[in-house]
């Protein structure tokens, strides 16, 4: 597990996650995310290297999204890896990831 942080420009960072996002890595990853949230106005999280994601990992992403929203930080998740997509689909979080209240696509339609 590691997170590569590339400081793009002023107050903007690109985070590439490699390896798993699970209960085992959640604590470390949270620290990194928290730091980045402190220092930036824009965050890009590249999920292409996520090999495995479990509830703790998902919860962490939900957490980051909420924090970002509250601090008016622009957050974008990019390059979702297959495991991430699978979880987002399972929970119908898909494209809507990041709504203040997480609602699924189906829900919007009804």
């Amino acid at each position: 597990m590691s997170i590569e942080i590339k400081q793009l420009k002023n107050a903007a960072a690109h985070l590439a996650i490699n390896g798993e996002m699970t209960i085992y890595t959640a604590l470390d990853q949270k620290t990194t995310f928290s730091e980045c949230l402190e220092n930036n106005k824009e965050l890009q999280i590249d999920l292409s290297g996520v090999s495995e994601i479990d509830s703790a990992g998902l919860q962490l992403l939900l957490f980051v999204k909420r924090e970002a929203n509250e601090r008016h930080i622009k957050l974008s998740l990019i390059h979702h890896s297959q495991p991430v997509v699978e979880v987002f689909e399972l929970l119908n979080l898909g494209n809507h990831f990041g709504d203040p209240i997480v609602l699924s696509a189906n829900w919007k339609k009804t």
Binding site: L27, S34, D54, S55, F63, L91, I101
Partner: protein, 728 residues
Amino acid sequence: MSEFDSALKIFAQESEQLLQDMESALLTLESDPNDSETINSLFRAMHTIKGSAGLFGFNPIIAFTHEAESVLDKVRNGERHIDAGLISVLLDSKDHTTKLVDHCLNCPDAPLPDDLAATSSLLIERLTGKSQAHTLQSSDSLSPLHSEGGGDISLDDSWLISLDFKTDALRNGMDPLSFLRYLKTLGEIKDVLTFFPDMPKDAEMDPESCYLHFKIVFNSDASKQTIEAVFEFAADDCDIKILPPNSKIDTYLQLLDAMDENHVSLLGDMLVQIGALTPNDVNHALTNQAHARQTDIEPVKPIGEILVEQQVVQQPVVEQALKKQEQTKQKIATESNYIRVDAGKLGHLINLVGELVISSAAMNLIVDRHGLSDAGDVAASMNSLVNAIRDTALELRMVQIGETFSRFRRVVRDVSNELGKEIELKIYGGETELDKTVVEKINDPLTHLIRNSLDHGIESPEQRLAAGKPAQGSVQLNAYHESGHIVIQIADDGAGLNSEKIVAKAIANGLIKPDHGLTQQEIYNLIFAAGLSTKEQATNLSGRGVGMDVVKKNIEALRGSVSIDSTPGEGTTISIQLPLTLAIIDGFMVGTNETRYIIPLNMVAECIEMDSRECEINEVEHYINLRGHALPYLRLGDYFHSPKTENAKKRESVVVVKFGQDKAGFVVDALHGEHQTVIKPLGKIFEKLKYITGATVLGDGNVALILDVQGLIETAINKRKKNAALPA
């Protein structure tokens, strides 16, 4: 489902009748608009139709009649004036209700046709004077669920599963996602709401804690049990609520209708049986209920209400189940499997069986006497049949004592309120059976004893607390069988008897002398003597010293006995021993000097030949040395007759009898063996006869006397004491 159909038929008939009545009532109102009785009947018609429609889930009818009912309620309370306009709207409403009922009966599953729905809205508008903005459809889904996402979820065909994971779920190795993946194998996840309202901010957030909650809308044909099994492993770390789809309600209602009406089941069991609940749901609810009972903050809710609150089952299902339960109870109470028989007829039957037993004994005697070996077999098999008939006939009169016991709940409740004490009645052994005549006669003595326990036995809450006991006292009623008797115990955990007071009072009343030398046990039993009460002040409940002697007399009249035991500060136990039946017993026949006696068989411990190695008699100190134990004895021949004059030494035998803890030996000339004894009461003139409780007619026409073993044992013990006290 035939019951469901017939219920529908009843609904149809009932509605038709009610609507017709409604029409004529409306027409009456036109001429006399202030007739309150007629207005009431209008209200009742709408109300009843609404209620019945509710049972079948006919939502269009409910929605419409509800509005009409509200309007009529206002009219009834004088809030709205009834005029020709309203009457005509109501007449239209009546016609419309007829159509709605027809529609619901003919095609219950089809949605309401547009024209009917439109009429409904229009009429409601006219009835209420308000425009009906939303259509009737909204009332179709029952109690829409408000989720954190805001808005309602349509649950008509879907299960709603709520998963509220506990904080430690992740640390305990749970992965909520894996449960969802597994769930997907059982059906289709239509929608998932993920929310995390309690996730703390920023640094507070512990990424290893779980803050996730899910609401899952799930389509599946699986049973509730199967769905619950998915989350079996998570049960400790997650609050799981599974609400069946609304469309299942009908199925559940039908299953409830089809349920067996021969047993009353518990509500939870019924709902589990039809699959609306899983055993876990019920256990959970019961735990909650028990918890509520302990904490005692608010009144304990019925289990059905808890289940609905937990959102594991819909209200209508619970209501229907309760209704079914009530119906079943009533059915069992009314028709059930019992036949009511005149007690007189039963008594006559038992008399006849008694005669049959006697003549069968007579027949056996003759068969024996003539040595008819081939007839012997027939006689033996007939004998066993007669025995079986006897037992069965006696069983007919056996009733469980539980009903008598539970009547005392009320007594305890009322009396403890009156006395300002907190007392709980505990009942054990309510299923113990005894003869109905005995039950009837034991009621008064029992009431008296229980009142005594409540009044004298249990202390006031303050006294109890001061003595280090819980404020709530308890009175126990216990019944069990013991060697052919039934024992009924009334035990309280009160102050116990004060033996000094009893002695003082007894001496004052001249019952005993100051140098009485009585044992503690004998002192306690003094309270059964007339005119003795230790309570300083008589209350209107008890304490006048009249009663305990009557209690004892009543019990002894039933060939029973009563004894009392008490530990100061810990409580008092009163034991009543009663024979199981008053009609026929197994007896043991003995003889002295040509006279025959019957000893109830269950009181016979053993029979021994006199002067054998095991048994030696000591005439001077009046005891029998039975294998090293001193046994008081009575020579029945000497006791009931003048002493024998002839010197011819007969071979004597000893029958060892026991009653409770006491034992004694009866010395007799002959042992005749077991005998079926039909108890015939002695005539009036013999009523006062001591130590004889009755008589029986023997097969050869002779009469044998039935011994009062208890009384005789006492006599034997007293005699032994007297003789032992004499200087040798």
